[in-house]
């Protein structure tokens, strides 16, 4: 992050595929030119030494940059160059000479210029003065007037194992181990203290006096060798723990600034006094790469440059950021040099050999944002386009749901062929019906055709519970246009419940050629014989439904030829069908009148046989030509029985909410106990647990038991939902026959009183149906303006089912009186402003409640009412039976038995009792709890 960038004065790329690191750059007047201008000296890990003398010319278009004449010297060495430094290493003169560090050698060269006599300038020469072979692999070296010698620089070489060797110019002085060295840190010589400062592997700044190092010898000053194996332990003068690895050290000796030592760590910069006290430190928010103090511009402060791995050059005065400039690369080392043309140039080098001499300036760090794609502005055209778009938006905006347009032809076609016969060998597995040994299965052949090559098709076969498939999802790697893929899947009944309908849904998802993901869905109807089997008819049953037709009766043998079973050869007046693990439905055909009757002990079970009967009759009579066969229903609607289904499903839902409430309460209790226990365990002084652990375990068991209860309740709810779904299908079908509805009206009815009973915690069937029916009642079926004003109730679980029952009864009543559902559709569109006009004028403005009793009386014939009381009891009992698994652990059998004949009021109490009884007896566990108590105390 910076406002400005560095300005380039001179730059070049050095070498090809050469590597450089900190130490490879040195700036000095190495040829001892009289003008004193600096040269740039570079040594690479590939062993090439280069000396540059940048002399760019100022032209009209800025500085001329690099020219080949700027290269002063280039020389290749056999060994890598690790570090180059200029100093007074020559014993003969006080001139600057160059010291080059190779992995196992230290050499000193003098570089001198010989003035040329011709135009191409002077010639430079590199002469070796002396060299030392080293015993250990080196890391870095530092130099200085060790021991206070005047006008000379001695060299201290640090090796990779932390040994330092001192060379007094041509002669070797001594080698010493630094204590605790593992990896070498940066090392520098402080002339004022005559000491070395380094950062050790223990992440500590340590200062060693030269004198101490010099005298700490085993052999008493005689025959010092580089090849030492042991040594006296030297102690540091002072140390300071910086808590991180040092990357670089700089010794500050500016006249204005207090003498201090700057240490660049990986995450901060520390400034220490020469006696090892912290002056200040600065935490860095970036990765630094190198440090260079360059001046002290005001009294008592130090100015330094930090280059970062985020490509910026930051200039600090103590801890205050003074300037930030963006660089093109991450420098490994930077120096400040004075050239003939320009003083104070920053020389930077990166690890691939990009060498730049730059200065700071107010060139903005130009970041050119990419152009936003903009069109040629043509206002007339734009206006036209805008108007068109607005029009389309307006059109679309009318429809609340924007339905995607279906393409005329899908890329993928799925065909399903349901085999006409049941499988010879049943494929059913995992059947949960206790009464049946084996259930039949039926095979579906799914053919997937593609218009073009389509890859990676996911095919899913969804059979609604209790039906199941032997495999539900397939993935087809690819389908080619001419070779359709074929799959086989078997469907069978697995769960012990009545199926709500006999459709399986098959969906294939794939990526179309345009890249959009598309889904093709298909429904396949299954034959009824998959779930029912022929049995002998049963004479009497609780519920009877009679269907009238306008054609003479026909033998049932003719219309159910494939489902005769044991009745084959009978007269065809009565057939019995039994659901697997379910009740028997008997179909009777009247011999004289044009009627058919279905009878069964359970209302909802009649749905599938009834549908089968009517559709087969339809097929039989309307075959070939346009037939005029019609079935109708004249009896009273079995609303009371239907209400029982609604109630039992509702009971299950209530049970589910109760269970989840209980579960939430127990879970929060569990958390509270955990919290308390945690506090106790964390406490320094041990305190008794006060049976909290017992409580914890008890609560845990309760939660587990409640979890089981929830699961069982879910199962019961699924069964109840299926029953309700069957019942709703049946009711709708009967209403249709009863009022002779058109298909469109029937669609409206099915949408309102939906046979789809989904299990959802948020919105259940009861409130959704209630809302939908209320909507119908206050719109198309409204009698008076008052009806239309009724506010819809919120979509939350109601306290009882009274309302929805009342509204369904009202709906049936109005439909029975001849109200039509169809006109509503046309009216609905204009509804927003205009109030719907009531279609029939109500005879009296009675309250809804009285209407309800009327409605029920009208719909339910008297003989039903006589049965009402008996039925009610039965309904309750069933509810209890289905709810019995509600959180009942095994030991509670006796109470479960007792509750069989209890009323509704007692039910909740019984349930609570059971849930309470799930708490394990605390007395039983107290012994164990005490023991744990002791252990806990012992531990802490």
């Amino acid at each position: 992050m910076s406002l400005f960038k560095t300005r380039e004065w001179w730059s070049t790329s050095v070498g090809e595929a050469e590597e450089f690191d900190n130490g490879c750059l040195c700036v000095a007047n190495i040829d001892n030119e009289s003008s004193g201008s600096d040269k740039v000296i570079l040594g690479s890990y590939q062993g090439i030494l280069r000396v540059y003398n940048p002399r760019p010319q100022k032209t009209e278009s800025g500085w001329s940059g690099y020219s080949p004449e700027d290269v002063v010297l280039e020389q290749a060495f056999q060994q890598p160059i690790l570090q180059v430094e200029a100093g007074k290493f020559s014993s003969g003169s006080e001139n600057l000479v160059l010291a080059i560090l190779h992995p196992r050698k230290l050499s000193v060269y003098s570089i001198s210029a010989i003035a040329g006599s011709v135009a191409h300038g002077s010639q430079y020469k590199c002469e070796g003065l002396y060299e030392h072979n080293l015993q250990r692999t080196v890391h870095k070296f530092c130099y200085g007037p060790f021991g206070g010698v005047k006008g000379k620089d001695f060299i201290c070489v640090q090796s990779m194992d932390g040994t330092i060797s001192i060379f007094e110019q041509e002669s070797f002085a001594f080698s010493r181990f630094l204590p605790g060295a593992l990896l070498p840190g940066p090392i520098k010589y402080v002339p004022r203290l005559d000491s070395f400062v380094t950062v050790s592997s223990a992440w500590r700044v340590e200062c060693y006096k030269y004198q101490v190092l010099a005298v700490a010898s085993d052999s008493g000053g005689k025959d010092e060798t580089q090849n030492i194996r042991s040594g006296k332990r030297v102690t540091f003068d002072w140390s300071f723990d910086i808590g991180e690895q040092g990357m670089d050290i700089a010794v500050i000796a500016f006249p204005q600034a207090p003498a201090s030592i700057l240490i660049l760590g990986e995450r901060s910069i520390c400034c220490l006094t020469e006696t090892g006290k912290l002056r200040y430190m600065k935490k860095l928010g970036y990765d630094p790469s190198c440090l260079l103090p360059y001046a002290s511009l005001s009294e008592g402060t130090i100015n330094y440059i930090v280059a970062t791995h985020t490509n910026s050059l930051l200039i600090y005065q103590d801890v205050t950021l003074k300037w930030a400039a963006k660089t093109e690369f991450t420098p490994v080392q930077c120096q400040v040099a004075n050239f003939k043309e320009l003083n104070g140039v920053i020389v930077m080098l990166n690890d691939t050999g990009r060498l730049e001499c730059v200065y700071l300036g107010t060139d903005p760090a130009i970041f050119v944002p990419p152009h936003v794609e903009s069109r040629e502005l043509n206002y007339a055209k734009m206006d036209a386009e805008m108007a068109q778009l607005q029009k389309r938006i307006k059109e679309k905006g009318q429809k609340a749901v924007i339905a995607p347009n279906r393409k005329p032809e899908e890329d993928l076609q799925v065909n399903i062929h349901v085999s006409p016969n049941l499988d010879e060998m049943s494929m059913a597995t995992g059947v949960e019906i206790p009464e049946e040994d084996s259930v039949p299965s039926i095979q579906l052949r799914i053919q997937v055709k593609a218009r073009m090559l389509i890859d990676n098709i996911k095919l899913e076969v969804h059979a609604p519970w209790p039906l199941a498939t032997n495999r539900s999802d397939y993935s087809i790697p690819s389908v080619e246009p001419n070779t359709p893929a074929e799959l086989f899947v078997s469907i069978f009944q697995r769960g012990n419940s009545l199926p709500a309908h006999l459709y399986v849904q098959i969906s294939a998802s794939y990526q179309s050629a345009t890249g959009g993901s598309r889904i093709t869905t298909l429904r396949a109807a299954l034959p009824a014989k998959l779930v029912i089997q022929p049995v002998l008819p049963v004479k009497s049953a609780l519920h009877k439904l009679t269907i009238d037709t306008n054609k003479p009766p026909i033998s049932l043998n003719d219309i159910f030829p494939d489902m005769l079973g044991e009745n084959a050869g009978g007269q065809g007046a009565a057939l019995g069908f039994q659901f697997f693990g379910g009740p028997v439905v008997t179909v009777l055909a009247s011999k004289t009148s044009q009627r058919y009757r279905l009878q069964c002990d359970r209302l909802e079970a009649m749905w599938i046989p009834l549908k089968e009967l009517v559709s087969r009759l339809n097929q039989h009579f309307n075959r070939g030509k346009y037939g005029d066969f019609r079935a109708s229903f004249d009896g009273s609607l079995p609303l009371q029985e239907y209400y029982e289904l609604v109630d039992s499903h509702f009971e299950c839902r209530l049970g589910a909410t109760k269970c989840s409430e209980m579960l939430a309460q127990r879970a929060s209790q569990f958390r509270v106990i955990e919290r308390r226990l945690l506090t106790r365990f964390k406490d320094k002084t041990p305190t008794p647990l006060q049976n909290l652990d017992t409580l914890l375990e008890g609560t845990f068991r309760q939660i587990l038991a409640l979890g089981d209860a929830v699961e069982q309740n879910q199962m019961a709810e699924a069964v109840a939902a299926n029953n309700l779904s069957c019942g709703t299908y049946l009711l709708n079908f009967l209403i249709r026959l009863w009022t002779d509805m058109t298909d469109e009206e029937f669609k409206v009815l099915e949408n309102a009183v939906s046979p789809v009973v989904s299990e959802s915690a948020e919105q259940g069937w009861q409130e959704m149906t209630d809302a939908a029916v209320t909507h119908l009642l206050r719109t198309v079926l409204a009698k008076s303006a008052k009806d239309a004003a009724v506010n819809p109730s919120p979509l939350s679980i109601p306290s009882d089912t009274g309302k929805v029952k009342k509204h369904i009864a009202l709906l049936c009543d109005r439909l029975g009186k001849g109200a039509r559902l169809m006109d509503g559709l046309a009216e609905k569109k204009e509804r927003t402003i205009k109030l719907p006009t009531p279609k029939t004028i109500s005879e009296e403005a009675d309250t809804e409640l009285s209407e309800e009793s009327n409605a029920v009386d009208n719909v339910i014939s008297p003989n039903f009412r006589s049965e009402k009381s008996r039925k009610k009891k039965r309904g309750v009992v069933r509810a209890v039976e289905e709810l019995a698994p509600l959180g009942l652990p095994m030991m509670d059998k006796p109470t479960a038995d007792k509750s069989r004949r209890r009323g509704l009021g007692e039910l909740s109490e019984a349930k609570n009792q059971k849930i309470r009884s799930m708490v394990p007896d605390l007395d039983d566990m107290s012994g164990g709890g005490d023991e744990e108590n002791h252990i806990a105390n012992g531990d802490s």
Partner: protein, 500 residues
Amino acid sequence: MDPLFLAYSYFRRRKFKESADICTKLLEKNPYDQAAWTLKTRALTGQVYVDEVDVDEEGIAEMLMDDNAIANVSRPGTSLRKPGTSSQGGPSQGVRPTSQSGRPLSGFVRPGTQGGRPGTMEQAIRTPRTAHTARPVTSSSGRFVRLGTASMLSTPDGPFINLARLNFSKYAARPNLAKALFEYIFHHENDIRNALELAALATEANQYKDWWWKVQLAKCYYRLGMYRDAETQLKSAIKQQEMVDTFLHLGKVYVRLDQPLTAVETYKQGLEKFPGETTLLTGMARIYEGLTEMDNAVKLYKDVLHFDNMHVEAVACIATHHFYTDQPEVALKFYRRLLQMGVYNAELFNNLGLCCFYAQQYDMTLTCFERALSLADEATVSDVWFNLGHLALGICDHNLAYQCFRLALSNNNDHAEAYNNLGVLELKRGHVEAARAFFQAAFVIAPHMYEPHYNFAALADQLGDLQSSYVSARRAVENYPNHTDSQELLKQLRQHFSLL
């Protein structure tokens, strides 16, 4: 060239992978090479290193099971849990929107600025709208695990160091190995328990004299949720040697203990020793921001800029403050500075666009938003459209506003503010039912906003549904006690009820 030297050079140049590879080869040759071993631990640590001070992931379990708070009912202005109780009134909620926890929106997204401290599990699980990922259940899952599993990637044949077989007491006694090893265990392996054991043994081996080990102990305790122990260690470390990191960690511990004022004191103490340390100043400013003492926060952010004028967080927070205190021109300057510094993202252009609009520089407004839209990703594009909708409202183009809000919703159907505004627009068009549905959707998604509650209450009041009106008005006042309109509506309703 010596391979170890090369590895060390790579390490210095932040080429951790190359460095670790060379060390692996060296260790294959000589498994007992301590230098290579240390270098490899440090290279592996460097790959995943994140400064512990910046890590502030608070999981759901930590927030709910937190039993470190001193008082559940704290005195006004002394707790981060109940922001807005301080005596210096922060910005009004009507002007500056608040986050889910009731703090004003910050100008800079940090970990922890979005969630806050919820009271219940349900509230905790609810994802803040701008976060877009669910909060981790505990901080030992979540991002730390992802950091921890980094080790598996780099070493396919198992972890580099088998911690279970390490003799910690042996390593603890070797100061030159132990520190690198600790950082490796803490950052790379993310094994806090073992790190704690090593730190405890090392502290002992150093005769309880090394401040560094005490800070590391505190870091481990902090991660384990033992804040009081961490506090003791940090205080002891400060007594030994004052370092910036120690103060930062201590401040963080106090924030976690919900003692913002003590944390501020700690930072102040640190600033006495290290004047101008920007991290300390920022820490203080963040706490003041959390306490809704905006004046103090902005003052501190300005101090930060004095010492580091490239501090993005400070610039952004000051800009946001100016924007919400009705000085869009000043905010514009700050945001422009961010742009010049190289920040280039949709959020910035969005803010620039808004500032331009309110500073009446209409020519720039649309260009800025155009750029914001072209830069926006899925997470931000809905916010940009929402702001464009505001702009359209400002120039009275209701149609455009309506379409903008719809676009905001089509990109993110949880955008409660857009629902609320759509509701208002629908109400203006006379579609009462639609308006009601939109308001309902808005306050279901974001129960912490007062606007949809009030709007719903006002609408219900007009329709004569006094009960719902009363309930919603109460919720609005709960969320924003100083909202005059809600209060008046409530008063009116109360009067009405008492008359009945």
